[in-house]
């Protein structure tokens, strides 16, 4: 990876809680991370790990109540999103930060033409005239590889296939030239060959436009092919963070290791039996006072029940710059144990 560039986004101690009738759910627990200019940061975790809630908290996209951002800061080019007024935040959403959601079927409005939906942010945020916006919309559709863009502009979402709709979603997110693009499981609802098209498109767009991207997914395969750096989330917190090659070559957290071993491979030797992570993910009904993974961890010991481990760098670099892990068990010699 290149030398560390300046951070576009810096999140500190973000905490999000859902207040439900059954009590509070602590969905995001003191999450801190940064995003460098032009970088693609992968966020991996299972459902309920807090990966989407973290990103949606930043832009206040969660229904509040029941959601409540209980603390933390998030600096986008130096301005704190968490303390911003709703009015100010509106000028950030869609303009400085673009969002691509998982399901391209439901995130486009079926009663408006695509042109309408692509031009909306251009007219609102960029104060373009209708003619200017239209020209830019055609440009954007061409950028994301939609043939016959001018005609397509006047069509409705149902006239597009799933892959095409996801291209349109990306075009909308890119409309105002955002500094940050947040993509929440953007390829999960798509078939593999269509997924491959979208991944290829994102690779191209990064080269052309150079924006920073946060890519949320549960698919380690997708992350391996596209990310520069990866954060692994579990129980509403970051349990491991490292550059992508380092993470896959040298996973440290027992959860990351187990996860990499549970998925079968498409090439190489065929495993006789899949490794299993026993048990279920935790229910986050209170602040974490112990390691959230302890109930499923094969290396559990007493400390794990008493103290929630903090993230610690394992390579001597400052936190977030290199490889860090939140685990009591972690010790350099332990690498051989899991590989044996």
């Amino acid at each position: 990876m290149a030398e560390p560039a300046a951070s576009v986004l810096e999140v500190r101690d973000l905490k999000t809680v859902f207040r439900t009738r059954g009590g509070e759910i602590h969905a995001v627990n003191d999450v801190s991370f940064h995003l460098r200019k032009g970088e693609l940061l992968g966020v991996v975790g299972e459902s309920g790990s807090g990966k989407s809630v973290t990103m949606m908290s930043l832009l206040r996209l969660l229904p509040m109540p029941p959601a409540e951002v209980r603390g933390g800061q998030a600096f986008l080019n130096g301005r704190d999103l968490i303390s911003m007024s709703d009015e100010e935040l509106r000028s950030v959403r869609g303009a400085k930060v673009g969002f691509v959601f998982q399901d391209p079927m439901t995130s486009l409005n079926p009663v408006f033409t695509l042109g309408n939906q692509i031009m909306e942010p251009l007219i609102k945020h960029m104060k373009m005239s209708k003619a200017q916006a239209e020209a830019r919309a055609v440009e954007l559709l061409e950028l994301v590889g939609i043939p016959d863009a001018r005609r397509r502009l006047y069509q409705y979402p149902h006239q597009f296939s799933g892959g095409m709709r996801q291209r349109v979603m990306i075009a909308i997110a890119l409309a105002c030239d955002p500094d940050v693009l947040i993509a929440d499981e953007p390829t999960t609802a798509l078939d593999v060959t269509i997924q491959a098209q979208i991944l290829e498109l994102v690779r191209e767009l990064r080269q052309k436009l150079g924006m920073a991207i946060i890519w949320i997914t549960h698919d380690l395969g997708v992350i391996a092919g596209i990310a520069d750096r990866v954060m692994v989330m579990y129980g509403g917190q970051i349990v491991e963070q490292a550059p992508v090659r380092e993470l896959f070559a040298n996973p440290q957290h027992p959860y990351t290791r187990a996860l990499l071993q549970t998925i079968p491979r498409i090439s190489g030797p065929r495993d006789a039996r899949l490794k299993v992570i026993e048990g279920q993910p935790p229910i986050l009904s209170g602040p974490l006072t112990a390691c959230p993974f302890r109930a499923r961890c094969e290396f559990r010991h007493d400390t794990c029940d008493q103290l929630n481990p903090a993230r610690r760098p394992i390579d001597g670099l400052p936190l977030g710059k290199g490889h860090d892990v939140a685990c009591h068990w972690h010790a350099p010699a332990s690498a051989e144990v899991a590989h044996a």
């Binding site: 299972e46 593999v192 549960h218 380690l220 992350i223 090659r245 491979r265």
Partner: protein, 349 residues
């Protein structure tokens, strides 16, 4: 056609499942969605056949038509000696215990108002005249088999996690001691860490009970893990049917090759060196498939003949069936060998 000495438990011959399209105020029959258009395969007793393909390729429809959840348009489905496609209603009802299904979405396939005991014993109510106690005994036995705690017997589906619900679905499928189970995307709705639990359970049960599976999935890595043979479907037809080992090492059909190259390996080193085949465009509509090969609109190796003549599934190497003009003698021997070379170059590593 068989790769082992054991006789096939399941034989499907030229299965077709067309859904009629009616339009206009007189509901005139104007066409058909050819969801499954002439599919043939067999499954050796005790083995797993993987059926892979993208959404809309007809793989789930094959599973449903085989078990007569749909009335097949044409073709034969011989399961354990009987042609299920032609059985009369009462004979079909008596046949049902031998063939069962595990569905994709355990949330939607379990009645939210029934307890676990009700759900798992419902097949027993229908097909046996056992006493309550005997049925409950069988429910407990099944719960042990699929790894559900006996204390949960009176709980409702919403009280279980996704993985546990899928175990309930499996217990229900096993209740009548079937020989053949269609697993229709049984792990697609589950988290990664839970998928392995369910897959291992399916493998254990197969070994213990001698079950035969049709495993329908879009997860090519998981199918490689589970299946001895794999059928790749595209737009209602089988593109390639090969032993798993051969298919993954060297796919012959251009679609199988593209599909495999699109799978993301959880390995950044490999991903960087990978030679991906990015297919252009989308799958054509099954209501209006191309005149020639169904894949001809997206195939990177398309030839003139492909646009006019539908290739039929033929054995091109021992045990390997491919429906592609690249491998038929008429297309010239050069086409075939060239394709082989390219396949080898496209391989990983």
């Amino acid at each position: 056609m068989l790769d082992a000495g054991a006789p096939p438990l399941v034989q499907v011959e030229d299965l077709k499942m067309h859904f009629p399209i009616y339009t206009g105020i007189f509901r005139k029959h104007t066409g058909d969605v050819k969801a499954v258009d002439g599919v043939s395969f067999d499954i050796t007793a005790g083995q797993t056949l993987g059926l892979v393909g993208e959404s809309g390729c007809g793989k789930s429809t094959v599973g449903r038509a085989m078990l007569r959840l749909y009335e097949p348009t044409a073709g034969r489905v011989i399961i354990d000696g009987d042609d299920v496609a032609k059985l009369a209603p009462e004979a079909l009802r008596r046949k049902r215990p031998t063939m069962q299904m595990v569905f994709q979405d355990p949330q939607a396939s379990l009645n939210p108002r029934m307890t676990l005991a009700d759900i798992v014993s419902e097949p027993l109510d229908e097909h046996t005249d056992w006493t309550r106690d005997r049925k409950l005994e069988r429910v407990y036995e099944l719960m042990d088999q699929v790894g559900l705690n006996r204390r949960f017997v009176n709980r409702f589906p919403h009280e279980f996690s996704g993985g546990q619900r899928q175990r309930i679905g499996i217990a229900r499928a096993l209740a009548l001691k079937p020989r053949f189970i269609v697993c229709d995307e049984p792990i697609a709705a589950l988290d990664v860490s839970i998928q392995a639990q369910v897959v291992n359970l399916l493998e254990d049960l197969q070994e213990k009970l001698g079950l035969t599976y049709l495993f329908i999935s879009h997860d090519l890595s998981m199918v490689r893990h589970l299946a001895q043979r794999v059928a790749v479907m595209y737009l209602g037809r089988i593109a390639e049917l090969s032993p798993s080992r051969d298919l993954y090492a060297r796919p012959l059909h251009p679609y199988a090759e593209a599909l495999l190259s699109a799978v993301n390996e959880p390995d950044p080193e490999l991903a960087a060196r990978r030679n991906r085949i990015i297919l252009k465009g989308d799958v054509p509509s099954p209501a209006n498939p191309p005149k020639g090969c169904n894949f001809c609109t997206r195939c990177p190796k398309v030839m003139d003949i492909c646009r006019n003549v539908k290739p039929s599934l033929a054995e091109v190497e021992p045990g390997r069936l491919v429906a592609c003009h690249l491998y038929t003698p008429a297309a010239g021997s050069t086409g075939g060998s060239e394709a082989n070379e390219r396949n080898q170059q496209g391989e990983t590593r």
